[in-house]
Symmetry: C2
DNA sequence: CAATTGACTGAGCGCTTGCTTACCGGGCAT
DNA sequence: ATGCCCGGTAAGCAAGCGCTCAGTCAATTG
């Protein structure tokens, strides 16, 4: 049988939740346990496929306790996506931002991909299920996404200006790099055993190839 | 405001279903209308987020009529993913398969990406929700996916053999190209107005860049 | 010690879900 | 005309859903 690199495993998914201190420190221990359980449920079965009882059971709490800490199931989901986007933004902003556009893009993609592999369950919620949010919550997430996109756009545009990157397809390059990076959340935990770092190294190399036109053209 | 290339639109999604004759010709007209309605519902809200009543209402049928044509909601979903994978495979196999690995990979990715843009609603079901299938149905889909992967692997391995493609990371290249291609189903219909053909042209170019190591390295 | 608090419980409400069943009407061979 | 499929309907069932709320009890306060 050929090596398989697509998500076609049939066993149980090896999804893992972030450490409790990934979540907002203002939340109680129980609330953070709830988020850890919820993010696993959402990654496995999506928003509509998870029951509030599954979430509370996973945190060793009763069914009603969820509603002492969150207004609704949607509020739980929102808190996950909010934390996820804020943490992503913080990781990207921690980059010094020096060096050539090539060096900077490689570092940014590396950070971004490693984040999506390490926090693949959070990433799934952030990238694949935003449509379940209320209009207000969705708008708040979109604002964060624009900030994240602007970081990448800034580097790609600068690289286009000095002709290291493809100036003709900046939007296409940005979208392709984004696609490449976040699709990690779809298969990570299902397929393969690579470390977040090795995936980040490989994919940031690919991102540079996407952005850089071959010399012949 | 900066151009936005991520899925952050707030209006209604512009999802479109395939023509009725996309579906198995053995099925009745009503059954194909049902599938057309179902694929839109599933694309919008996922498997667990759509009710069987939404599906039948979209086909202008009563609630019970779904069960005169399909055994269950899962059977409807399976029929969609089955048809989708079979059609994808047929489109890829229609390629003559001649020319250099570069030419062949470009054509294959172009076909694959155009398919996922044109049939973005079917593609969403095929790429993002397979976990809802029963074990038997899932195994059937996985078999089709292996055939699809083998087509791409064949070309990439051949290109690696004659040093046009990256021989060190064949699995990584395959997965990256796959990620790039199928992520189209996540944003197409939500964001942007490009034609399937123009996306296919751009992304097949990117796929070649991913597979081809830069001369310096 | 009694009084108060607050995190947590779990039975259960109102409603929705996937699916079943009893039924209907028109075309068709006899 | 008659009987009979057959594609489709309408009503409804049992189970499950998100969410509520009166109540429990250990910890804290005075």
């Amino acid at each position: 049988m050929a090596t398989r690199v697509w998500n076609d495993q049939t066993g149980p998914a090896r999804y893992v939740a972030p450490d409790p201190d990934f979540w907002d420190p203002k939340l109680s221990d129980a609330a953070r346990r709830l988020l850890g359980s919820a993010v696993l449920c959402f990654a496995r079965n999506g928003f509509y496929g998870t029951r509030t009882r599954d979430i509370s059971a996973g945190a060793k709490l009763s069914a009603g306790s969820l509603y002492t800490m969150f207004d609704s199931k949607e509020a739980v989901f929102f808190e996950i996506t909010r934390s996820g986007h804020i943490d992503t933004l913080a990781c990207l902003n921690a980059d010094p931002g020096d060096g050539t556009p090539t060096e900077r893009l490689q570092r940014l993609v590396s950070i971004y991909v490693e984040w999506h592999a390490r926090y693949h369950t959070v990433g799934r919620a952030c990238q694949h299920d935003l449509a379940v949010l209320t209009e207000e919550h969705f708008a708040e997430i979109v604002e964060l996404r624009h900030q994240i996109e602007a970081i990448f756009r800034n580097v790609v545009e600068e690289g286009a200006k000095d002709n290291t990157f493809d100036a003709a397809d900046i939007d296409g390059v940005l979208r392709a790099i984004h696609s490449l990076s976040i699709d990690v959340t779809r298969w990570y935990g299902l397929d393969g055993t690579e470390s977040p770092q090795s995936i980040a190294a490989l994919y940031s190399k690919f991102a540079l190839r996407i952005a850089t036109p071959p010399p012949s053209s």
